[in-house]
Symmetry: C2
């Protein structure tokens, strides 16, 4: 036998309007009364139908945002852009930190489906194309900071390879003859593309070079800096895969009394707010983080309303060289 | 008539296991099949019962995190701590940015109830105690960076008044005789407490002082710095209500060729990562942001399991003076 809202009201000893208020969680209901109504619903195995209908048609107005690390200023800006655009359309955002780990991305994807998220924005995803396909089905998905050829998936990105090339060419133009690049996490698509840009840049020039592995965190930049700058012949130009690592290099150089830009030029990537305020101010390649987050939600929102989901939309930003004191050799 | 999973399978022309996979969103189902199953469920008004049961007993394993601004490094660290602790217990976190606006906190509270969040962590909340009570009922809630006497509500905070006093006394100890304080948003409890600490500090000393209004953002620190430092007799010590504004003051001083710490001492609050890397490195008052976010979730989780919810737990951190170059007058 199916129970109605009337049965719940009767069992709880309240009016139908009160049950409705509890179900929809608007208007005042005393905690005691609310508890009684909840108990009656549970006893009768009563399912509030508007919510139930919401479930079946999957209209939860919730999306998942899978980012590597919200404590990284670049991703924090993306998150803010996404949430601002989402709430403007009545959507809430579930925050997921993947630490660039494929198994965490998988875990979150599963969790987000269980919670009936209506779509997912994946930032700096490290999963392979085949597992991406698995993650995607059947949720609409937008990738940020990663380009994908998967049919039906949108992406917002800037040309990281070109950005890496611009940074490298700038160091060469400023007279550097011994270059080093600090890369990001091995499977970060952004890091891979920036490194490709670096290799392209040195290929065209007659300079010596090497690549040191980092992980996009401050500490790995500091460690790489300490290692590189204590060699017999240290590099005279370093392109760090992101600004946080570049700041770590500035610190390593300062502690070794190596002067920037006199003895060493350093350039980063992302143009986080900090880049402007460190000593010396950091040259970098700009990515509009907030804007990318905002646009990613708008693309996802469109996709959610598109029944076929066959289109593949790409919004690309031009990487922009931002020159400051850290590469300003006279 | 109540329909069963069998009816759905029959109408969709698939097996029961397939319907189950669609409902629970695990295992592979082709998009076409999934669509057919969803359509069948909608046609029969079929409610998947595990989820429905989940709804009635409100076990969504979701909490809301209402912070002023995730793009502020202090709150980003709190968010990371909260999410790490939550996912370890299988909970997801809905990210809400309030911009210190009471009406946005209200809007999010309502939204979070509609989404059957099981609890809320409110960081740096600016709502009054009476509207807090309204926000709280009937969800368990933990406040971060704000102390509350509301029965049944927990808080994680550090003693901001004491921290403000420590910062102010340090400037006086270093010989400052004309102090200025840049406050945060008018209704931020943390800002109000830090300002109280400042007033307590100057009360005990024979110094002149003034307070300029800021909003915890970099730009307001820069503007306040430009205004204060272009006066006929500028202050010789500034206590900024947070580090972002202090960095703004450093920039204003640099652009006016005012030397820090020779001509001016500056101290901030929060000890965000950036504080260590700016020029000159910034003295500040430490709050353990990540730890506070982590502990807030653990307290909330305990509270969710406590039927009575009558206890009022407080976890307090000691503010800690961090001394760097910006107040190191020889």
């Amino acid at each position: 036998m199916t129970h109605t809202i009337k049965d719940v009201a009767k069992l709880a000893g309240v009016g139908i309007a009160t049950v409705s208020r509890v179900i929809n969680q608007n208007g005042y209901v005393s905690p005691d009364t609310a508890k009684r109504v909840m108990k009656a619903m549970a006893e009768l195995d009563f399912t509030p139908s508007p919510l139930a209908r919401g479930l079946v048609s999957r209209k939860t107005a919730t999306i998942g945002l899978v980012i590597p690390d919200v404590a990284n200023p670049f991703f924090a800006e993306v998150a803010r852009g996404t949430e601002d655009a989402a709430i403007a359309k009545g959507f809430t955002v579930i925050l997921c930190n993947s630490d660039w780990k494929a198994e965490r991305e998988k875990m979150y994807s599963k969790l987000l489906r269980q919670k009936w998220a209506e779509g997912v924005i994946a930032v700096g995803s490290r999963s392979s194309e085949s597992s991406l396909r698995e993650l995607i089905d059947p949720l609409p998905m937008v990738f940020v900071d990663r380009f994908t050829m998967l049919p039906g998936s949108d992406s917002v990105w800037s040309d990281n390879k070109k950005g890496g090339l611009l940074a490298t060419q700038h160091l060469i133009d400023m007279g550097c003859r011994k270059l080093a690049h600090i890369s990001g996490p091995t499977h970060s698509p952004a890091s891979i593309a920036r490194q490709k840009g670096f290799l392209l840049g040195i290929k065209e020039a007659n300079v010596s070079w090497e690549i040191v592995k980092g992980d996009f965190r401050y500490r790995s930049g500091y460690d790489a800096g300490m290692e590189l700058l204590t060699r017999d012949v240290p590099p005279d130009g370093i392109f760090a895969g992101n600004d946080l690592m570049a700041v770590g290099i500035l610190q390593a150089a300062a502690s070794l009394h190596i002067r920037i830009p006199d003895d060493l030029l350093v350039i980063g990537y992302d143009n986080i707010a900090m880049a402007e305020y460190v000593a010396p101010p950091l040259s970098t390649v700009d990515q509009p983080a907030y804007e990318m987050g905002r646009i990613a939600f708008d693309m996802l929102h469109k996709k959610m309303q598109d029944e076929t989901r066959e289109s593949r939309n790409v919004r690309e930003f031009e990487p922009l060289l931002i020159l400051r004191e850290s590469t300003n050799r006279k």
